[in-house]
Symmetry: none
Subunit: 413 residues, 2 copies
């Protein structure tokens, strides 16, 4: 197995000013071509610390990818540090300079002195062209290990990876492809799910590993498989995913990069059907999720966010006596909201949600996190009561997740 | 200087399925109380590798914060690994079990066997309560170093940090307080802002550092100050912030942890005023932002999300001939939406937004990112045209930012 490590350099990462998104991007792309990332290390702009992190990484991995610290200002010390590490003189690299000139002339400017110095590179490296920025990448080798330094600006690093680093690594190593399959579940917790599928999990072949990735309102299961010379591996993974579907299918709403909102979008487009929403406790969040999907105007007409009970009564035909009798957070009110918006907005489907997001408003009978959702279709209106506990943001998110998934199951049923 | 290191554990980080946002959050909070993060290390769910990373971190830092791998399933091995590392037996922790029971009962469920096992903890640790999840945190000490293991779910880790870890660290170490003051600006880019305030920036005393933190629709300026034995430091920072206000006040909408939505909430509560919204391109996102604030039902009545033009006409009294003449994305339509929802929902203020979020629907006259916003008050209705360019999510977010800030300026004017 070919192993890589990632070292990201920059004070801004350690003081939490910037989230390191480069490592996840690189990890994903390396994994796809069959290179496993062993460790990700973030260190400050400090020469001694960069060198000790590099030495440790070299002791464990075949490939070290470094990002950051290649800018033109004083606090960028990666190039100088690597030149010292490889005991290398600097030279003026004509090709890199031409690239810098090109970038400046595209903006109608001449090259400034500090950017000119970016074309000075260690003799020990092979330069890698940066098509989108002024800092060249640097490819070093040492005792059979590969060390590559790239800029920290995400789109510059990404271009350099796609243009040169990934193709070269694929060429150099005889890589075993890694197959990933992610199964998206909703409506069952991590522990219940693991009990439900434990005999399937135990019978997985050794070449496949299973991981649980829980997040609020969602548990993802990831199958990872690797086997030399097995061109049938992808099919074998699919077949395990099929077995899983027969056990836990009622909780599975999608695969890999899908989301409930894009699945719903595709279902509605295929059916040529439309949807509207009536939201109380979710305050427009369900509408927001549906409309993050490009092209959602083809099926989504709109929403009445009825935070105030008067809005529920006047604009969603909720009977004031129902609110008095059952409360605003009740099955009856959720049904009236869903049926009214479906009729008024003339859509095929509708979603309604009413609940207590907190932190105030709970009671003994209806504690915080009590939510009623209703989904209305041309045939029927179905409802669910949720008990989501405390945490305003989480209650809003999980309500949207339950409501959208209930809609999905109704559409496909 | 007290040094900390962060170790994040999980295969999902190394294969790039999840971006490590925990480290940046922890780095920021540690920095604020005067603890410097030396290194961030991400490793896989592998016992030997976790232990070697821990040993290396202990050799460099005083405090090691570990997240991840505390779930109830088979791939979660952090607890077992730490028990081995500290050569510790396991015991059944009654308090942790009560916490697990409480969380299950809030959802009307009994505790399953595998969650019950989460109350088994190493004798060598002092448990840390997880108010939002079933995995307890663990506090270890070894040769004067502190090792703390926390869950990887961000909001669980964050609560544990705020509730116990940060207060305990502040107590234990004699930390040099770092004063931070963050100034929130909107409506001016990073480079224009830096030109506007350059002479103020140059005159800052050496004990204060300034950082620019740009993000879509917002540039934060952070003043960081540190000086031993200066009890007046906070006042000195405030005085610099006052000077900045006299230069760039028109762009400053708040300070520190404030958000436009909570500032608006406070303004409306103080005025005993109410607000409603009418949204097209933002699809409910403005409603969502307003209703993330606890207690927003005191001033927010609701929204009409009018994605479809028919909804604009039938429910917001938008004149069909205005749509025909000026287009749905126009000043005229934005004004009609704002005035209609304010009247219908009987509120003091209202916000309306209509625009082209893309990726389709742009034209030469109205390119992608063209947006009209309108704010209506008892006295008048004001409008703005925005040109936000491409990027659906960014257009939605920045529209909400401009609209909320315009409302804020109207309320305070």
């Amino acid at each position: 197995m070919v192993l890589a490590e990632i070292i990201t350099i920059g004070d801004e990462l350690l003081i939490g000013q910037v989230v390191d998104t480069n490592s996840a991007w690189m990890g994903k792309r390396l994994n796809e071509i069959g290179i496993k990332v062993k460790q990700i290390t973030s260190v400050s702009d400090d020469s001694a610390h960069i060198i000790s992190a590099l030495n440790e990484a070299i002791s464990r991995a075949d490939i070290i990818l470094i990002t950051g610290g290649l800018g033109p200002t004083k606090d960028d010390i990666t190039k100088k540090t690597l030149a010292e590490y490889f005991k290398s003189e600097m030279y003026f690299d004509e090709d890199s300079y031409k690239n810098i000139e090109r970038l400046f002339s595209e903006r109608g400017k001449g090259v400034s002195e500090i950017n000119r110095l970016q074309a000075m590179l260690p003799v020990a490296c092979r330069p890698l062209k940066n098509s989108r920025g002024t800092a060249a990448g640097m490819h070093f080798e040492k005792d059979g290990k590969i060390i590559i330094s790239m800029p920290g600006v995400p789109y510059e690093m990404q271009s350099m990876m796609e243009d040169s680093v990934l193709p070269e690594l694929k060429n150099k190593f005889n890589l075993l492809p890694i197959i990933h399959k992610t199964i998206l579940t909703h409506g069952i917790g991590e522990s219940d799910l693991s009990e439900l599928i434990s005999s399937w999990e135990d019978s997985l072949p050794a070449k496949m590993k299973l991981a649980y990735l829980p997040s609020p309102g969602l548990v993802r299961l990831r199958i990872t498989a690797m086997e030399a010379g097995n061109s049938n591996l992808e099919k074998e993974v699919e077949s395990e995913a099929e077995k899983l579907k027969s056990i836990a299918g009622k909780y599975i709403f999608g695969y890999d990069e899908e989301s409930i909102e894009n699945i719903i979008g595709n279902l509605l487009v295929n059916k040529n059907a439309t949807i509207s929403t009536a939201e109380s406790c979710t305050g427009g969040f369900i509408a927001h999720r549906l409309t993050t999907i490009p092209g959602s105007s083809r099926y989504y007409t709109g929403s009445v966010v009825a935070y105030d009970n008067r809005i529920k009564e006047e604009f969603l035909n909720v009977d004031p006596s129902a609110i008095e009798k059952f409360g605003a957070v009740s099955k009856e009110v959720a049904v009236m909201m869903a049926e009214s918006v479906r009729k008024k907005f003339k859509t095929d489907y509708s979603i309604a949600a009413t609940g207590i997001a907190g932190p105030d408003g709970g009671s003994e009978q209806k504690p915080l996190g009590t939510v009623w959702i209703a989904i209305s279709s041309p045939d029927k209106t179905i409802t669910r009561q949720l008990s989501l506990g405390k945490g305003r943001d989480r209650v809003i998110f999980e309500t949207s997740q339950y409501a959208l998934n209930l809609l999905r199951t109704l559409i496909v049923s």
